[in-house]
């Protein structure tokens, strides 16, 4: 909480605040000191909050018209699209909103990777973030099942069958998940329940994520600690509120473009065919945001090991604060890490691309190399790099780096030569 003791001006405010310190909390949030060198990559936290609220509001309204039954789900979605007032708009916001949510979360995660935001003392913020990301994937997957189209049905079949790879109890777990001997009505109703529940779990975790953030405060582009007391920070309101607001507007333009001009481009045409347990679509492909992990799954020729590799690819992120041994947070001062960072970005994009392609021939070979590199980056390159890399001198304070221009390599070098 804030260093200074907040006292409400009005008599009633003081009376209320003594009993429930909501006004103190509001005061803490508006005065919250933020590093003054935050760039636009730091606006995605606010954008993600907007995405979550958008999904909850549109999801609640869709749930008023949707019917979670295998015989009626597909029709009820078409009913929403054709009959319900603005149903098409609400559904398109919700379905494209999922993609926008993942777009924002990937930028948010890669911002952390570049600026070392996951490092001490912010490990708990990072791990809560990974849990939120896992829950987002579960929610997105189950939400995709609800329209009960061909991709819904067969996506659900393939993903739930991943659990059958577990030795001995696998088949039992799959039957338990399905509530039957195949994906059917019991599967749909429980997926709907969980899809409704998960966003509220995410909301709770977001509160913890922000709470944990407000203990050490924000990381920043130069990755050094804020000096207290100093001119390194500005209050959250109005400075960051305005900056976040502007970035959110830009983001909403992209969002609106998808909704109004090409609402189905991120989906699959097969999902406009009602689920048929007797016919599998020719190409089963998950939504774009899951493709890198799908590529990792398919690159391993063994069923169980493929599943293990896919899960490890996500869970390895939770160990990142300890795998990265470098004391320097920001990639700005880590010339080698910066290059490996961009190789990792390219590697994940390549995995995403081959995940959408058939798993054969050259695509399979590329997927295998890219999968191997992904694990190499986290398990070998990061631990070794932190010990071997010669980092650049970091600025003495945020104010110094701001007054000296943008915190980039050239500036840092200039400073070095000036100092000499």
């Amino acid at each position: 909480m804030s260093d200074h003791e907040y006292v409400p001006k009005s008599k009633f405010g003081k009376w209320f605040n003594d009993r429930l310190p909501l006004l103190s909390l509001a005061s803490h949030l508006t005065d919250y000191p933020t590093p003054k060198n935050l760039n636009y990559w730091w606006t995605f936290g606010g954008i993600l909050t907007f995405c979550l609220i958008t999904q909850i509001v549109t999801g609640l309204t869709l749930a008023m018209h949707y019917i979670a039954h295998a015989d009626m789900a597909f029709e009820s979605v078409e009913h929403i699209m054709r009959d319900v007032n603005y149903g098409w708009l609400i559904r398109y916001i919700h379905s494209n909103g999922a993609s926008m949510f993942f777009l924002a979360v990937y930028i948010h995660i890669f911002r952390s990777l570049f600026y070392g935001s996951y490092k001490s003392p912010r490990e708990v913020i990072w791990i809560i973030g990974i849990i939120i990301y896992l829950l987002m994937m579960a929610a997105a997957f189950m939400g995709y099942v609800l329209p009960w189209g061909q991709m819904s049905f067969w996506g659900a079949t393939v993903i739930t069958n991943l659990f059958s790879a577990i030795p001995l109890v696998g088949e039992g777990i799959v039957t338990w998940l399905w509530g039957g001997y195949s994906v059917d009505n019991p599967t749909l109703t429980r997926f709907f329940t969980l899809h409704y529940l998960i966003p509220f779990l995410i909301l709770g975790l977001v509160v913890l994520h922000i709470w944990a953030l407000h203990v050490p405060g924000n990381n920043n582009p130069v990755g050094i600690d804020v000096k207290k007391p100093s001119k390194d920070t500005v209050p959250f309101h109005p400075y960051i509120v305005i900056k976040d607001g502007f970035a959110l507007l830009m983001f909403m333009i992209v969002f609106a473009f998808f909704i109004f001009y090409t609402p189905n481009i991120l989906g699959h045409a097969d999902n406009y065919i009602e689920a048929d347990p007797l016919v599998t679509p020719a190409h089963i492909v998950p939504e774009w945001y899951l493709l890198p992990f799908y590529a990792i799954l398919r690159s391993v020729p063994d069923k169980l090991l493929g599943v293990v590799a896919m899960l490890s690819a996500i869970l390895i992120l939770a160990a990142l604060p300890w795998l990265d041994t470098s004391k320097i947070r920001s990639a700005v001062f880590r010339p080698l890490y910066k290059q490996f960072y961009w190789i990792l970005v390219a590697d994940v994009l390549i995995l995403g691309y081959v995940g959408a392609m058939p798993a054969e021939g050259l695509y399979l070979l590329i997927a295998r190399v890219a999968t191997a590199y992904y694990f190499l980056h986290f398990l070998v390159i990061l631990p070794v790099l932190g010990l071997k890399e010669k980092t650049l001198p970091i600025p003495l304070s945020i104010t110094e780096s701001v007054l000296g221009g943008s915190p980039n390599l050239a500036t840092a070098k200039n400073k070095e030569s000036l100092n000499n």
Binding site: N161, P186, A282
Partner: protein
Amino acid sequence: MSEKKTNRRDFLFTATYAVGAVGVGATVWPMIDQMNPDASVKALASTEVDVSSVSPGKTITVLWRGKPVFIRRRTEEEITEAKSVKLEDLKDPQKDEDRAKNPEWLVMLGVCTHLGCVPLDQKGDYNGWFCPCHGSHYDISGRIRKGPAPTNMEVPKYEFVNANTIKIG
């Protein structure tokens, strides 16, 4: 209190934890088990199929427990071909005789053992089935020959009620 010795209070603690654990388990189990197949799903456990109209070289697909079951009336050549395969060539070695009690009729779950897609009839490199999802090839006995699937397509429990009727399940 420096003496480290079991007394009556320790016994009470242990007994409380034990009873508590049983109570929690007994409360949680119904919440977990309610997700297992219910009585109405289990009631659909068997299906009878009239196969009198199936001519040799044709496959029909029926739905059993929400899953497709392939029933193929195989031709003489297909039976010979299925029987001629050497067991060493198979990823999941199984004799054709063990899969089709009556060699004319092959009854199996039309579910790829990789990740559960439905393979296509008379496709693939072995004149049997081909799974379009991840490229598994099955022969005319439904045995895995090439691709990521670990095992042959499953043969369910079935019996001929009479010459024209198969009861699956």
